[in-house]
């Protein structure tokens, strides 16, 4: 729980925890916010690139200690498997911000790499990885997650809790490595498909990627548990009414969970699966689904309502195929087939590996945090998320460890900064990739496909800096730039920080208490006479309503410009 900076006196935000800030704390937080310049230095020789897409905010100390080695091991693995000309990727953390760099391949392995790359396409080696994922890696990981999740941290002694924290951390590290191990399998066939299509047609990458739709139910949040839940509710009209009822989201979920029969069982099974996962992001500082019942309830409602637009993908595939020269159409079918086959691995490798493990680590950490806060050792349970693993154990053991103020300061630092505060690169500029024309065909094809895929799938720096414009109704005049905060209901209100732009589907009077904190309002639905429009005008802050897809297209934490006079919202980065 991050202290909320308030304008002037202590703001009572109904339904939220609030720290009563004393004057010293308030001043200290303001100092952090107006930060003296952070000093950035390249962590070593070579070129480093900021990764604001995966890491839009500074990471916790825990993360910066766990991630690098696990990440390096996993990426080295896929580089070797696919015969890539690199030793792997590296993540380094400077002032908590994530920077990526590329490790050179071990020279003695280069001939093997060339040979391997040839085999990759000839043997469709990604399929072996998919088999390994489905048959071994994924089920083993799920079993381990459930085993750890079944432990109640509150029931453990201090010693047992320390051991449990270590187990969760080790599992998390293994899962980070696993995630990266399977990365290339998700990327290579898709990139290969995109690269070939760009030779044959002018169809833009975004449209080509949309041909993957239906190939990855997991990215839409689907799973066997969700399917069971949807089926149960569709057969249960009274359950559907309950689902649709307006009221406290926590209560509605509790009622659904305890409902007699299949519905209750299906809801419980689903909540057990997704409850401990962060809804967004990877770090243990991100709230889990169960901590955000409004968002969770909406996700269930959307799933039950059904996917409206799933079904024209066959038509669109045919339309693109028609643009491919006839002599390449068989190849088109083959390449698309491989890309679609592998596409689900892109999301599954995260969701079933480190995303889940991160949620489990968070849960364990909050359990320890509660204990330490009750003992007065730290100010808030959530501050323990800013301790490294050894520090967490030292605190539990009563050994020398960071003070409560130190941890609180770390949390405040993370809340006050975003990737905008960090330079895009450190060290010398990256050298251009080797000229593919001089390389054997297999490796050239691999490099090209990988390069294309990384640009299209993971948002290269060009994609990030593209401005995305949304239009809606010009509800309240003025222009404002600030950080977008996606809030779906009262349980998320505490995430709003002074000066944020509220981005939400619609507002009710319950949102009124946020108004003094907001710099602008953006909603998906609503007209000029709706509640959000009226309060934006009354409060004199820029407002754009009825954007339709604001909550989908604006990422939480993104910097946005709200132009309430023109009715436009621009996502700046």
């Amino acid at each position: 729980m991050v202290p909320v900076r308030a304008a002037g006196g202590c703001f009572g935000i109904a339904g939220c925890e609030m720290i009563a800030l004393d004057d010293d704390e308030r001043i200290r937080m303001t100092d952090t916010a107006a930060a003296p310049e952070l000093h950035f230095e390249a962590p070593g020789p070579g070129s480093y690139e900021l990764d604001p897409v995966h890491f839009p905010r500074p990471l916790t100390r825990y993360w910066t200690e766990v991630h690098p080695a696990a990440f390096a091991a996993g990426t080295a693995d896929f580089a070797r498997y696919y015969g890539m000309l690199m030793g792997g990727l590296r993540m380094s953390y400077v002032n908590g911000f994530g920077y990526k760099s590329v490790a050179p391949p071990p020279e003695q392995e280069i001939p093997q790499r060339f040979a391997r790359a040839e085999e990759v396409f000839a043997g469709k080696l990604w399929r072996e990885q998919l088999r390994e994922w489905d048959e071994t890696a994924k089920p083993t990981a799920i079993a381990k997650h459930r085993e750890l999740q079944a432990v109640d941290p509150d029931a453990l002694s201090d010693d047992e809790l320390q051991a449990y924290l270590r187990r969760c951390r080790d599992h998390h590290a293994a899962m980070i490595t696993q995630h990266m191990r399977f990365t290339a399998s998700a990327v290579v066939p898709t990139g290969d498909f995109l690269a070939h299509l760009s030779d044959w047609t002018d169809v833009p990458p975004a449209e080509l990627l949309s041909l993957m739709r239906g190939a990855s139910p997991v990215s839409a949040g689907a799973s066997a548990e969700l399917e069971r839940l949807v089926a149960a509710l569709r057969a249960d009209p009274a359950g559907q009414e309950l689902l649709a009822s307006t009221g406290d989201a926590g209560s509605v979920l509790a009622e659904l969970r305890t409902r007699e029969g299949e519905t209750g069982e299906a809801v419980s099974a689903y909540l057990d699966l997704v409850g401990n996962r962060p809804l967004d992001g990877f770090d243990i500082s991100e709230p889990s689904a169960l901590e955000l019942p409004d968002a969770l309830l909406r996700a269930i409602r959307t799933a039950v309502a059904g996917d409206v637009a799933a079904d024209d993908v066959e038509e669109r595939i045919a339309a693109v195929r028609a643009q491919v020269p006839e002599e390449h159409r068989d190849e088109f079918d083959e390449l698309l087939g491989e890309a679609r086959l592998m596409y689900r691995l892109r999301d599954e490798r995260g969701v079933y590996s480190d995303v889940w493990a991160s949620g489990i680590m968070r849960r364990a950490t909050l359990g320890a945090g509660r204990r330490l806060a009750a003992a007065g050792r730290i100010h808030q349970p959530a501050h323990l998320l800013d301790a490294g693993l050894d520090e967490m154990c030292d605190l539990l053991a009563g050994a020398e460890a960071p003070s409560a103020e130190e941890l609180a300061a770390r949390a405040a630092y993370r809340a006050a900064h975003s990737a905008k505060d960090a330079p895009a690169t450190l060290g010398p500029p990256a050298p251009p990739p080797p000229d593919a024309s001089g390389l054997p065909p297999g490796i050239a094809r691999l490099m090209r496909g990988t390069g294309v895929a990384l640009g299209a799938l993971f948002g290269s720096s060009e994609a990030e800096h593209e401005e995305h414009l949304l239009r809606g109704l010009a509800a309240s005049p003025g222009v404002y730039e600030g950080t977008a905060r996606l809030v779906s209901g009262p349980t998320e209100f505490e995430r709003i920080v002074q000066g944020d732009v509220l981005v939400t589907m619609s507002t009710t009077e319950a949102f009124n208490i946020l108004l003094p904190l907001l710099g602008g309002i953006v909603t998906d639905s609503g007209g000029l006479l709706s509640h959000s429009a009226i309060v934006a005008r009354e409060y004199g802050i820029p407002g754009v309503v009825g954007t339709r897809q604001g909550t989908e297209l604006i990422a939480d934490g993104a910097r946005v410009r709200v132009d309430g006079t023109a009715g436009e919202v621009t996502v700046l980065a």
């Binding site: 009414e241 619609s506 509640h531 959000s532 009354e538």
Partner: protein
């Protein structure tokens, strides 16, 4: 019992709150307001406390309304412009019968005295105890409903701006849909019309409460108001201005072919 009055007779804002008094004025002016009663703040408190005599008196007075009922709070001391951000006003749509009314009044009393309401009042500088009066009316089952301003709130132009959607007007007020939108001049000529995206309709649920009903695909972007509807709304706007003056924020509903006025207050912004 002076704590329960038919809307027609309501005039004292210190007893019944400005919402109730506003409706009273509308009824007296012959505007099409659904039948109803206002309950004073002390009456609501007595019912919440379980005072048998008051409960009996309220239920017997209100019984002729039948059911289902819409129960809206009418805050007594958040007066002045009744700014939208002034407070949290609980509205209970679809209280199924008058026998369910005492429990509904208890809920409303408690929502006005809840921790969050009290916290909020203190933040905006109100330290006295809250008093919440209530308006009880027949709940309509509208085909379409929404909001109308008798002045363009963004440009200030002398126009009627209308936003409409299907089912209960909550969908427009709470911004749950992108409503159909119209701008009319004083002569009810249409200056601009824009269909919205009306994916859901709020409907009353059997046995009490409301739910979000999915609107059939064909109706989502089809304009829900006819020319006759717009003409009737234009006329209502003029009548409201005659009674209250310019700059009105009107909540309306069309049920069984009849246009009703649900609220008429000053445009705050």
């Amino acid at each position: 019992m002076t704590g329960v009055l038919p809307l027609r007779e309501v005039a004292d804002t210190s007893v019944f709150g400005s919402k109730a008094v506003g409706l009273g004025e509308a009824v007296r002016a012959g505007l099409p307001v659904p039948d109803g009663f206002a309950l004073s703040g002390s009456t609501v408190e007595e019912v919440a406390a379980g005072d048998e005599a008051t409960v009996e008196s309220v239920t017997s007075t209100v019984r002729p309304l039948g059911g289902p009922l819409a129960v809206r709070s009418s805050a007594v001391d958040e007066d002045g412009a009744d700014a939208s951000f002034a407070g949290q006003h609980l509205t209970l749509l679809n209280v199924p019968t008058v026998d369910a009314l005492p429990a509904a009044l208890g809920e409303i009393w408690w929502s006005a005295n809840s921790d969050s309401a009290i916290s909020y009042r203190k933040r905006v500088g109100l330290f006295t105890r809250p008093s919440v009066a209530v308006v009880v009316q027949r709940l309509l089952d509208p085909d379409t409903a929404g909001v109308m301003f008798t002045r363009n709130p963004v440009t200030g132009a002398d126009e009627r701006m209308i936003e409409a959607s299907l089912g209960l007007g909550e969908a427009v007020v709470a911004g749950l849909v992108i409503p159909d939108s119209y701008r009319l001049d004083r002569e009810t000529n249409v200056l601009e019309s824009r269909p919205g995206l009306k994916r859901i309709a709020i409907r009353r649920r059997e046995g009490g409460g409301t739910f979000e009903e999915e609107v059939p695909a064909a109706a989502v972007e089809r304009p829900c108001l006819s020319e006759d509807d717009l003409a009737a709304l234009g006329e209502l706007a003029t009548r409201c201005e005659d009674v209250y003056g310019p700059g009105r924020d009107i909540e309306w509903a069309i049920a069984d072919g009849t246009l009703y006025l649900l609220q008429c207050r000053a445009v705050t912004r």
